[in-house]
């Protein structure tokens, strides 16, 4: 199987979808002539021209809203945020227009579109550029939220997102665009709403997504070396949650760590933890542990940043803790 970087997998997904359906277009800052701040859209302008690969001025609320309006009129926009940090200025368009339009219009309009771009902290970009947005975007109805961690998932899920009839928020990561992995030749789709077992195991369940996936896998390896067999579940879709996948694993292992790159208060982390604590009340052998960002604004300084991000060791310690295993 060919090996691709995540950025290449995303590019293939957009390319294939644009070739398949000429209503699909890409819009955002520097997506055209510059070929993407992180090169996800490389080659697309040359292939599809200015009409379908649209560079915008710096006006996130404007072009997010243009995406909504174009989708209502029958197109299928892919709106790239250079990073989701900049989507904060477009929050109203996503919350009030994208997510509500179908309901508000009594079903007269659909908003089939994708908002995609990198999410969560990258490396030493200080606090305004180091934020995980799932706690905001999962918090309201009317959207689906996806987060990808491998080239295979990136391609298959982005293609599904483009074909989805609803607005889909699609999280990637600056620091993972170069991550390589096998991607089959030819077309395939991964359904939105299905979690994936990235590593099977039967003693502890580690639930994670996005940047958390590689860290959790490392932690699982440490656990294995210490005699604990951890299952790592990559949620992949954060809204709606794949409850069956989560609960089935927990009912098997009876012990859970939720580990992710995002702030602790609320969000997907608390939602998953609460779901498990409630639905598996009699199955749990230990309280659900959460390992995530510290509850602080990010610093530029490398040491301070690193300390705020969950490390494999911290996750391993949480695994050991729920397994009542000495370190």
């Amino acid at each position: 199987m060919p090996t691709l970087q995540i950025r290449e997998a995303l590019r293939e997904a957009m390319d294939e979808e644009m070739a398949r359906d000429d209503r699909v277009f890409v819009m955002g800052e520097e997506v055209g002539y510059y070929e993407g701040a992180y090169k996800c859209t490389q080659g697309l302008l040359a292939k599809y021209g200015e009409q379908r690969v649209v560079d915008t001025p710096i006006a996130e609320a404007g072009f997010a809203g243009v995406g909504v309006g174009a989708a209502m009129a029958g197109l299928r926009p892919i709106i790239e945020f250079m990073t989701f940090n900049f989507s904060a200025v477009a929050f109203d368009q996503i919350l009030n227009n994208a997510a509500k339009m179908r309901h508000l219009t009594g079903g007269q309009f659909t908003v089939p579109m994708v908002f995609r771009g990198p999410n969560a902290a990258a490396h030493m970009l200080s606090s305004t550029h180091s934020q995980a947005f799932e706690s905001f975007y999962c918090g309201f109805p009317g959207v689906k939220v996806v987060s990808v961690a491998t080239p295979y998932d990136a391609k298959g899920l982005l293609k599904s997102a483009v074909r989805d009839e609803n607005p889909v928020i699609f999280f990637e990561s600056e620091v993972m665009y170069g991550v390589k992995g096998e991607v089959p030749e030819g077309e395939y789709l991964i359904p939105i709403g299905e979690a994936d077992i990235k590593r099977p195991g039967d003693q502890v369940t580690v639930i994670t997504w996005g940047q958390g996936v590689p860290t959790a896998l490392e932690a699982a390896k440490m656990a294995e070396e210490n005699g604990i067999d951890a299952e790592v579940i990559d949620l992949r879709t954060l809204r709606p949650l794949d409850k069956d996948a989560i609960l089935n694993s927990v009912r098997k292992t009876n012990r859970v760590v939720v580990s992710y790159h995002g702030w602790p208060y609320g969000g997907t982390g608390a939602e998953v933890a609460d779901l498990i604590a409630r639905e598996c009340f009699y199955d749990l052998d230990a309280p659900v542990e959460r390992v995530c960002y510290e509850d602080i604004n990010f610093s530029y300084a490398e040491n301070l940043e690193q300390l705020a991000i969950p490390s494999p060791k911290q996750i391993y310690e949480a695994i050991a803790k729920v397994a009542y295993h000495s370190l």
Binding site: A61, V66, V68, E165
Partner: protein, 330 residues
């Protein structure tokens, strides 16, 4: 009712009667809605368009198949002018199942896609990028449609308006932005919103053409608006139009509008296009009280029927609240 004269021709008598009826239909619709509100049959916010009807009527005359109107929460006038059924509009206000959007939107969210009523929006300025998106789609697909996007003068100062206008200008989209400057944003008069008198001062920054006039006559409004619409349609030339108009009621039903004087309102009453059209029927076309009343009676009857329909319509099915959040919920 379709216009019998083109936007540039002088109106004949039938045409004056027609626009009089159209404006009156909106006014009577809203007066009955206002009464129903006072009776507690309509709730939430109800923003009346009384005084501004000529704008919606002129606009409706210019619409071709596929053209779109996008506007604010002050949206009943456009819906009625565009031919949405008054009974379904009224049912929407009553929060009933037969409402335009099934009772989920209420006053602020009239949508009737096939009639070109692409919606009433409730976040000030938030609809401008969306309207630009419709126009983007028109240019993309070459469907030849024009999007007419209405906003209050109060919406000129918010970011989304700037961004939506800027993108429309940069990309030369087939869209006309029409500022309905009714002098107030809630209780704030224009002079405390901006130090500028002429809001079209911003058109050059967006490379839009502009025009600006006081709306006292529906035909003049239609004619001048048609120029911008045609440039948008044929040349992808966006425009920024400022219309000086007036709302006779408060911002919404809960606003007693104490911030203005009776004198001010009296001056404006003389300019009311509906009043002036009635004057024209009387003075230029020989209509007497009886003839005017006959027209009025028929319209009141139509609108009362809408109220009766709305009252009779059932509440939405409780399960309906789970529909349409995602397409899969349908």
């Amino acid at each position: 009712m379709t216009p019998t004269t083109s936007p540039t021709q002088a109106p004949d008598k039938d045409e004056v009667v027609r626009v009089f009826k159209e404006m009156l239909r909106i006014r009577r619709f809203e007066e009955l809605a206002s009464r129903a509100y006072t009776q507690g049959k309509i709730s939430g916010f109800l923003h009346l368009y009384i005084g501004q009807e000529a704008i919606a009527v002129a606009t409706a005359d210019l619409m071709k198949d596929g053209d779109r109107v996008v506007t604010t929460y002050r949206d009943h006038g456009f819906a009625v002018a565009l031919g949405c059924e008054p009974q379904r509009c009224m049912a929407e206000l009553f929060g009933k199942k037969d409402g335009l959007v099934g009772g989920v939107g209420g006053s602020m969210h009239f949508f009737d896609r096939d009639k070109g009523m692409w919606g009433g929006y409730a976040i000030v300025g938030g609809h401008l990028p969306v309207a630009a998106g419709h126009a983007f789609a028109s240019k993309y697909t070459g469907d030849g449609a024009v999007t007419l996007c209405f906003l209050g003068e109060g919406a000129m100062h918010i970011g989304a308006t700037h961004e939506g206008m800027h993108l429309a200008g940069l990309w030369k989209l087939p869209i006309v932005f029409v500022v309905e400057n009714n002098q107030y944003a809630m209780g704030t008069p224009l002079k405390r919103q901006t130090l500028v008198d002429d809001l079209t001062v911003r058109a050059p920054a967006y490379r839009m053409t502009s025009d600006r006039w006081e709306v006292t006559d529906v035909f003049e409004t239609r004619r001048r608006l048609s120029e911008a619409v045609e440039r948008a349609r044929t040349d992808n030339q966006p425009a920024l139009i400022e219309l000086l108009t007036y709302r006779f009621r408060g911002h919404s039903m809960s606003d007693p509008a104490k911030y203005r004087t009776k004198d001010e309102v009296e001056v404006q009453r003389k300019k009311d296009p509906l009043y002036r059209t009635e004057q024209s029927l009387r003075e230029d076309h020989g209509f007497g009280d009886d003839a005017i009343e006959a027209i009025d009676d028929a319209i009141v009857e139509e609108m009362q029927a809408a109220v009766d329909f709305a009252e009779a319509s059932p509440q939405p099915d409780p399960e309906h609240r789970f529909r349409n959040h995602l397409v899969e919920d349908d």
